[in-house]
Point group: C2
Chain length 403, copies 2
Amino acid sequence: MKASIITIGNELLGGFIIDSNASWMSRKLLDIGIRTSLKITVGDDKEEILKGLNIASKSTDLIFCTGGLGPTIDDVTLETFCEFIDANLEIDESYLEELKERFERRGREMPDSNRNQALIPNKGEVVTNPIGSARGVKYNENNKQYYVLPGVPAEMKEMMESFILPELKNNYKSDLKISTIRTTGIMESALHDKLSDLISDLKDVEIAFIPGFMGVDVRLVSEDTKRIEHLSDKIYDQMGNYIYGEDWESLEEIIGKQLREYGFTIATAESCTGGLMSDRITNIAGSSDYYLGGVVTYSNEAKTTLLGVRNETLISVGAVSEETAIEMAQGVRKLFQTDIGVSITGIAGPSGDTPNKPIGLTYIGLDFSGDIDVQKYIFSTDRRFNKELAAQAALNLVRIALL
Amino acid sequence: MKASIITIGNELLGGFIIDSNASWMSRKLLDIGIRTSLKITVGDDKEEILKGLNIASKSTDLIFCTGGLGPTIDDVTLETFCEFIDANLEIDESYLEELKERFERRGREMPDSNRNQALIPNKGEVVTNPIGSARGVKYNENNKQYYVLPGVPAEMKEMMESFILPELKNNYKSDLKISTIRTTGIMESALHDKLSDLISDLKDVEIAFIPGFMGVDVRLVSEDTKRIEHLSDKIYDQMGNYIYGEDWESLEEIIGKQLREYGFTIATAESCTGGLMSDRITNIAGSSDYYLGGVVTYSNEAKTTLLGVRNETLISVGAVSEETAIEMAQGVRKLFQTDIGVSITGIAGPSGDTPNKPIGLTYIGLDFSGDIDVQKYIFSTDRRFNKELAAQAALNLVRIALL
């Protein structure tokens, strides 16, 4: 079973939007054992969409289209798909009534253009859209399964999660088991070296290293659950603390679970990351239970007045130093009266470096109920990279401290 | 002149990485008047890459491949491209020496696998990689121009910016002028309505609305610079303050320029956004000149002790209220001694709502040298969306106040 994904929209070709739909879909499909072998992006253009459908249906069995189901004249996906499967569009009167009622409830008259969204092909089935007005289409021909879905990410995801993925999981019982082990703080080559004995002796398990921006995922694929578990155990033995989670787990999710489990609270003091660490921590619903707050001390004065970093420290060793990182962590823990205080101070770039302090130099401090730790890193020369890498390293330091 | 982009890599198909290369490339190409009409993603697989090359070369004149040029056995792009253009791979002895020297300088011996990176096709030209070891290839046949580039974003971008884009700009003199006007705070349909008179009377200018997550871009394309300028002026007249910038400008870049121009300083107080606003402000190099710092007050206690929000306020109207937003803005301005204090308090979700306060309810407060403003919004039901939309709205409020 091979899948393909056709994403449709001029905005995707103009580069104004990063196409995250296709990534999300292929990862979700892989979770149920279906591999995506092709992704195509075309504009809102009949000819191009037809070309995409032809290419995709030639080489794959499961074809997803997203985008171009809106109410405006640009949106030609549905009529093009009808042409492709030789169907006609018909008005769905009951859905039209429903749409009108929805607008009425909001005290507005339905614009004429929305009538289009009540059109459905006279072949195939409708896929309900629980949170939007553009419905999807499901169609099967010659053992090729097609799904046509809207491009709005929240709507597409809802429809996939509620209807399509459960259905696929049932119908196409895949024997493929997939497990992803997520690591951070170790390079792909070093990870590879550490696991080389295991790799040379694989039986019926496929192993892949997926280097990402902030860590390397190790993906295990096999038809034999036992073998995956066995190998997974061995990888845990070898890699220990480099592993932070599995499958879709994020570092902020993991530390959230840890903090909740132990009943600890945390506060953050950030300089070069400018709030990115706190942004990540607060992406987790319910984080207010353990995250009390943070400060972004971008000036030296803020470091002294808010966090109590000593003037002597700033003068003698500077804002980007072990000592400042420690005093920031201690200061923010005191300020918010938490169990843990974590701090980041560094040189994000592109300027601000000195002969002894290169761009990317970063110190991360930790005050865990009075136990102090501080780590030094030299990241990259890119400002945004440095912010991302520093926030990741700080979260990881918290995770390890909580183990 | 139509371009296509083939991105190559199993990790892209597995959905573990969002393919931002293709978006970046198509936008940069559009800046010099070249449209991308097709994007294809395939795995590290000879047959699939060949399929991609065949499809792309049939419908476009300018074909970019990225990815799969690394040193390991997975990386088959170069040998596949050679097969496609009927060339042979030869070892480039002088580059091999250079690679060896590079490793020596870092005190390491070059692994055997890196030898592969000294291979070049005996047709076409090498594209230098100033920051990595995987070089690119440039090849022309039957008026089709091919570029094969590494997949590491920083390397691909450097090679595009340094060599390929300037060359393309010279060789394929496009008469297409493109201008993008960026708006925020107005829906696509409302924007469309406001500009409907202009749209109905277009002459030799193509107009496109590109709705993004946090605003709508209006793109004007024409061969006639004068016409673009003329239409652009009219759009500015109609849209006024909804327009925040042009082309690649971001809101944080714009307010950075404004603050610098007037010599004002700013501080942030965030609740539901958890530091996202300060993260965006500090993405701008040199932001420490005007951004003194911020606080993330995730608990009520932090709001009172750090920002001086009154207990009575929190008790009588709650943390998500006009009054709290104002007191937070005033408090943070006082705390950091800045010209501007800006605050965000809201209910990000998925829980925390009450009968009177739905998820998405957000107040943004502004204290500009004592002048107070506060705005109420109801965003979405999605936690991350609410954070993004609130940070965007707050930055936009600062921009408008600074006009």
